[in-house]
Symmetry: none
DNA sequence: CACTATAATGCAAAATACCGCAAAAACACG
DNA sequence: CGTGTTTTTGCGGTATTTTGCATTATAGTG
């Protein structure tokens, strides 16, 4: 049992427990912090009012407790993805060593490769690995490590190090934004080093981008844009938006 | 296992199971959450009123009958697998470090764990990794390496070495046959060393076996049968067939 | 049609929530 | 240091929710 004299501190601890355990029970909190259940109830009401948790009978639950599987989660860009992924998949040639980054776009590419492709493919995503195993003549190497639940990839130093052991012909970046001046950016800090490794270990570097990712800037800087050799994007993107990328020497593939 | 004391929490878990399995059965839910069927019925009624599921006699179904793209490579033993995997999954406890071998049976176990399980899980199978990532409170470690297409697992020296870096509480063997005298055998030579590592690095060693694998002998010898601590098998298996395993000190769990 | 499993309904007990109020503590300020 | 104010807390009383049980009704099955 702990002594808590600051009501705010207690609320922080409640939130912390909620994050850790996925739920909090009013009666347990009352006992743990040696305060009446009324006090706990008030705490929970306040936190609920601040939209930090969801109040339920007997305790509280996180705001977003349940999500479907990752590969069903991403329903965005359903119209353009097939076209983009098909165009991107055509950049692969027999005999190449291919590196796959994470993300739903790359998963889409991985399931749209030529059926008779002969190649070796390396990936950090178990979903992509499963898709790749469908190709009889593709050797699949899965890069292990601790898995990131959000992006469905292994990341961290171990994975990065493994990637650096390959000298690949081509890689498909899972990027969150590419801006001509700011460069390649990511929303996942743990992934930054891994993406850098992909870029450095690969001859061709492919970024397959829906229109909204062209010029977008995510929180974490990865590398300058001229590290990319090919951008695959939608046909609808106006030429003037693409010009700065061409200037950087990036080949543009307009899908569909 | 965590007790469910919040009504809303139970309802969310029901919805989660519904998304995952495509159906829920009132009687099973009642047993799982240790509440009366009346309570479950009320839960289902509420959720149905909120248009979150479709109420049917004996349980409930999703509103959209389309199921997710879960891999179902192995259509064998479809009747007994749910029972076996459920019985096997009950051997897992909160806080454990779990090693998963390959095989469809283990995949089935991985997708039938308690939804609120807190544990760390290590696997060589990308399919199992995907299933495991569905559990919010399970840390997933994917063991990388060259992938075996047939068994859908990474194997080889690299994977074996990684496995030896863990000291696990429990492991689920993906075995092809267990004979009381011949021992544990496998049909995949590359997997032999890896299975040995699983056994040696783990306290409890679980073999989940359909009736036809009990007493079966595959080409490659892995280890003697007494390395197994628990065999989970079908209820229909006669006691005299199990006796030799009991003599070896193996605990038998008869499912269903 | 009979038999079983599941559902619906009403009810009572227990747990939990809500409301108002007052004591206690913390705080601001002259 | 004293005083007034605000915040936090606990308590009593009442309302609401949740749950299990008993009873009656209904659906599924052969």
């Amino acid at each position: 049992m702990q002594t808590i004299d600051l009501c705010q501190e207690r609320r922080e601890l409640i939130l912390e427990e909620l994050r850790r355990n996925g739920k909090v029970v009013a009666a347990e909190l009352s006992a743990r912090y040696s305060v009446s259940e009324d006090t706990i109830r008030r705490d929970l009401s306040e936190l609920a009012a601040a939209k930090l948790l969801k109040r339920v009978h007997g305790g509280a639950l996180p705001l977003t407790p349940s999500r479907g599987p990752y590969y069903e989660r991403d329903k965005q860009h359903l119209e353009v993805k097939p076209g983009l992924s098909l165009a991107a998949s055509r950049l692969v040639k027999d005999g190449q060593l291919i590196l796959f980054g994470g993300g739903t776009m790359n998963a889409e590419i991985a399931r749209n490769l030529p059926l008779d492709l002969r190649a070796t493919a390396v990936t950090t995503s178990p979903l992509i690995a499963l898709y790749l195993l469908e190709y009889t003549h593709v050797e699949v190497v899965m890069v292990g490590g601790h898995m990131n639940r959000r992006e469905l990839v292994t990341c961290g130093a171990e994975a990065t190090e493994k990637i650096r052991g390959f000298q690949a012909d081509i890689c498909f970046l899972g990027v969150c934004g590419v801006h001509p001046e700011v460069g390649i950016t990511s929303t996942l800090y743990e992934e930054v080093e891994l993406v850098r490794a992909l870029i450095e270990q690969s001859g061709e570097v492919i970024a397959t981008l829906t229109a909204d990712k062209l010029g977008a800037i995510a929180p974490f800087f990865v590398a300058s844009a001229d590290n990319i050799t090919h951008i695959v994007t939608e046909k609808s993107v106006p030429e003037e938006q693409l010009a700065p990328y061409r200037t950087l020497g990036i080949q543009i593939v307009r899908a569909e």
